[in-house]
Symmetry: C2
Subunit: 593 residues, 2 copies
């Protein structure tokens, strides 16, 4: 069974040595105290919680799952206790507003903690994750009264939250949604409709569940411009506590491939009392303001599973004896060598490792940008952060969850037949990781968002903000012989990125399918450019200290990345060159005979 | 839910138009009657059985699983009835020896039927599949008495079979196996030991289970050269029926990720009576003679899941309305367009389709080679078939199961969030398909077998037999302008295949890790050369008839393959160029800090 240990040393390397977050954070209003010492001590406490409290509940939560009894969801044994401890320790309010009881720490800290919690127990970690989304929506767009009513409870964890978007006939295409909101004389609304796939939709861990629901007013436009956002609590608030039961109920629990410890609910709203957030018909816009954090959060799930699957596979590869090393026996005193000696096993382990550490560097930088966008005093700095984030969030979501799923499968493969057996825990990682490629916008939708809204819409302006960073880095290392093995391919790829973007842009002016056809390959190409940049930066930091094992390992992993993973870009460029025609030529009715 | 329809039209195209199996088969002794009419009518009956009997039990079998009651495995509801019908219709003896009651049809027919049965119900299809392996082992290496005792029962299905190789501490490395065989005065042996992962190890569908068990005699050499093969029946044979219960029992049922309708057992042999097959210490050799058929059988599982996942995703993509086509609405009268209009959805569908049809062509050719190797009168023809098969079986096993798993995941992705919900059936395909990458030799082991034993050991002789076929095909189409889009890249890849083989061969003489490091990439490279060859051949056949929808679709799919899938070879060649060093540089103890 997996025995997770939080990768604190690597987190420290990323946060302090690579990104120097202390300097940035302590320069932001309200974060003056977020120094290295504080950051490290918070992460160490979080690591203990993940390792000691959450991890032991991961397998049992999967086996037991959630159940619905008399309309109430019961979570697996131990989940509630863990949640209460989590709340008591103040984790639910970590980066929340101190005006409502939060600890006011930077978001930069929240994401590595999400990674650890996911590694330890993804299904459990989703409960506070969803609450945080509801907190963020109300905090950003709610009235003072709404904030005073809901935020303190969401922050201390006594109440939890959900996001209710999807309906049976629409997920991606929310313009089709049908849930209705009828205005009432008292200023509230009656909400009626059915929502599906509602994560943490109901459970027994908190006193109340605060649903954030997308619905349509009677006179609203028919498309996405006619959607409003409502607060619909399970129990109506009453004098600082909970009062009457609202007309919202769990229709059923979904039977899922994984994340079985998380209650994924069909929610029925039968004239439930709801409260409009902000202005009517602006619900999609309000949702979108939380999208960056939410999508990065899903990316962190990919990373969390990637890391824990790597750790488990590594431990197994060191332990399992099978066959001899090709050149000479590594453990001649044993009946066979540990399988970590075999090149093909190392290929799998290094792929998992390189994606995990690359993802950790990338996502930590994005988390820092979230704080900069939020707090920097210089508007230009805020705009740069916002632009880079807008560009790269779909990459973080899709690239990291695709890599996470691949890593989970490689981890399973290292275990051979044992990987297929539930008791070893590897197949759960595969099942759990799979959802992250789908929800919060499928990875195909992320790719369309990237190429359409984020790149082509502004003629590549945001993209150039990023490629300029890469270009500057390459320039700074020009003529550095030790770095040439990284700089040469990185500069090439950076140039190719610009060229292929231009080509797709031109082609899509003739035929809009060209952008859609390129989307998925284009996203992975940019993902490799981002990871290539980070691996080159990490190599540059490690080269002078490569005699120390930690830095030597970083350098070796950077070299592996460039040798074995970056070559995917050659495939992607070749595919992109062939355009949309090979996808569109076959008529719909002739796909099958 | 998936609604499988056997791809008979495509099977007929492959068997008759592409491979003209009739001409080859009717020229082989004993197969004079295997003409097109017979083949088609057998496949049509098999299709009905798969569609009507097996498919309806697939989801329920997964949900119910197997259970162990008082030492006896109970299979899911309906499995036994289906099995009895299968036996009554004579399917268990299809390609078996008429001397023992079989129908004596070519193996070429057995494999498409395996594909169909797997598409309809993989867990169920494994029961007769394993019996067939036991039949083949006894038929090839058993004594006349053993054949007379066991074959008629295995052929009519009253008895079923298993293969007992793996033990807790050894799967890949069978040299480590510990199960003991003590000779008895009556010429039998007492078998003692524990075997794990025994598919179909016990069940309630047949009167007896015939275990083929690898074990060691007391004086046997310690490595793989000291392993013998034994028949260990659940009930000892007695006058044409079953007699006394043998000392073999089910220790437990494994809890698995998928194939839950198949009983994967821990088998305990407690001094069970066993009968030596052939000579002592030749067990591994006997197992290996069945390996080609067994590994191709697993490849067919990859293909079977690939096909059914494709069909289900296609049906959903035609039905699900979401967003509008980029250029102009496809269904203006509906609230949105069916998602098959979107290029990224088509990318997923076409990938599944191209892998399925390519795999069907490839595997049908290999099945034909099995018959040629077995029956051809000309020894040179037999040797060529054997060589091509030896070379390409690891490719069929690994490439088709990796593609099958990818296809299952693409199918799930087409369904979006619904793909993650059990009721839709897509996630079962992912869980079922996953095992095929592992058992019968993990795909990493297939890759090592290919590069080591099949390619480098004979200095590329077998490989050249294959590349010569490709070369001849390219030559035959030289100057054919309409075929140039296929011939040019195919000839290039064929040339690159030879060059990279030479390079790896040279490098591995210096450092044997070079072959191990190249193995997985090398196998996929050869896989694409094989599929590229078949897609070019199918394109050549289809070009003159491309105005007919079936051939037009073939041609479009061939173009898709060359435009979007073959470019993986550029990634593989780039990775291969970097050799073993990036994999071996990192010291074992520095993988994690």
């Amino acid at each position: 069974m997996a025995n997770y240990r939080a990768p604190l040393r690597d987190m420290q390397f990323v946060l302090h040595e690579l990104l120097d977050v202390e300097t940035t954070l302590t320069g932001l209003p309200g974060y003056q105290d977020a120094n290295r010492e504080l950051i490290d001590s918070v992460l160490e406490s979080a690591a203990r919680f993940a390792e000691e409290v959450l991890q032991p509940l991961n397998r049992s939560g999967d086996e037991e799952g959630c159940r619905l009894e008399n309309g109430q969801v019961i979570t697996p044994q131990g989940f509630k206790d863990a949640y209460q401890r989590f709340c008591a320790d103040g984790w639910t309010g970590l980066d929340c507003d101190p005006d409502y009881g939060g600890q006011g720490l930077p978001k930069t800290l929240g994401f590595p903690i999400s990674e650890m919690n996911t590694s330890a127990n993804m299904a459990w970690a989703m409960y506070p994750g969803l609450s945080h989304g509801a907190y963020a929506a109300i905090h950003a767009h709610g009235s003072d009264e709404q904030k005073n009513t809901y935020l303190p409870h969401l922050i201390n964890g006594n109440w939890s939250g959900t996001m209710c978007l999807t309906e049976p006939h629409c997920g991606t295409d929310l313009g089709l949604l049908k849930t209705r909101a009828e205005p009432q004389a008292d200023g509230s609304y009656q909400i009626s409709g059915t929502k599906i796939f509602i994560s943490s939709g109901d459970h027994d861990m908190s006193d109340n569940v605060v649903h954030l629901v997308l619905a349509r007013l009677p006179d609203a436009p028919k498309d996405v411009k006619g959607i409003s956002l409502f607060i619909v609590p399970k129990f109506l608030p009453n004098g600082g506590g909970v009062g009457e039961r609202n007309a919202v109920s769990v229709g059923s629990l979904e039977h899922k491939m994984g994340i079985k410890g998380n209650a994924t609910c069909v929610m029925n709203f039968d004239g439930a009392t709801g409260f409009l957030i902000g202005e009517a018909n602006r619900g999609m816009q309000y949702m979108f303001t939380m999208m960056n954090a939410a999508r990065l959060g899903v990316g962190m799930q990919g990373l969390g599973i990637n890391e824990v699957a790597f750790q488990a596979a590594l431990a197994y590869a060191r332990d399992r004896l099978q066959m001899r090393a090709m050149n000479m026996p590594a453990a001649p005193d044993k009946p066979a060598d540990p399988i970590i000696v075999h090149p093909d096993v190392r290929r799998m382990l290094l792929t998992m490792k390189a994606y995990a550490e690359g993802g950790r560097a990338f996502s930590s930088w994005l988390a820092l940008l979230l704080d900069v966008e939020d707090r920097a005093e210089d508007p230009a700095q805020r705009q740069d952060a916002a632009d880079l984030m807008a560009l790269l969030i779909p990459v973080a979501k899709a690239f990291m969850t695709d890599n996470g799923f691949e890593a989970a499968n490689l981890g399973l493969q290292v275990f051979g037949g044992h990987g297929y057996i539930r008791e070893w825990g590897m197949e759960q990682f595969v099942r759990d990781a799979r959802i992250a490629q789908i929800y919060e916008g499928t990875n195909g939708i992320q790719a369309l968002d990237l190429i359409g809204r984020k790149v082509l819409l502004d003629q590549g302006q945001k993209l150039r903000k990023f490629t300029k960073l890469v270009h500057k880095f390459c320039e700074a290392h020009e003529g550095d012989a030790a770095m040439a093995e990284f700089i040469t391919p990185l500069a090439q790829l950076n140039k190719a990125m610009g060229e292929v973007t231009l080509k797709i842009g031109m082609a899509s002016m003739q035929n809009r399918d060209e952008a859609g056809a390129a989307a998925t390959d284009y996203l992975r190409l940019l993902g490799h450019l981002v990871f290539g940049w980070f691996w080159a930066r990490m190599a540059a930091l490690s080269l002078p200290k490569s005699h120390e094992p930690f830095y030597g390992a970083k350098l070796a992993t950077a070299r592996f990345y460039y040798a074995k993973l970056l070559p995917e870009t050659q495939m992607l460029l070749a595919r992109l060159a062939s355009g949309a025609k090979p996808l569109m030529a076959l008529e719909d009715e002739h796909f099958q005979f």
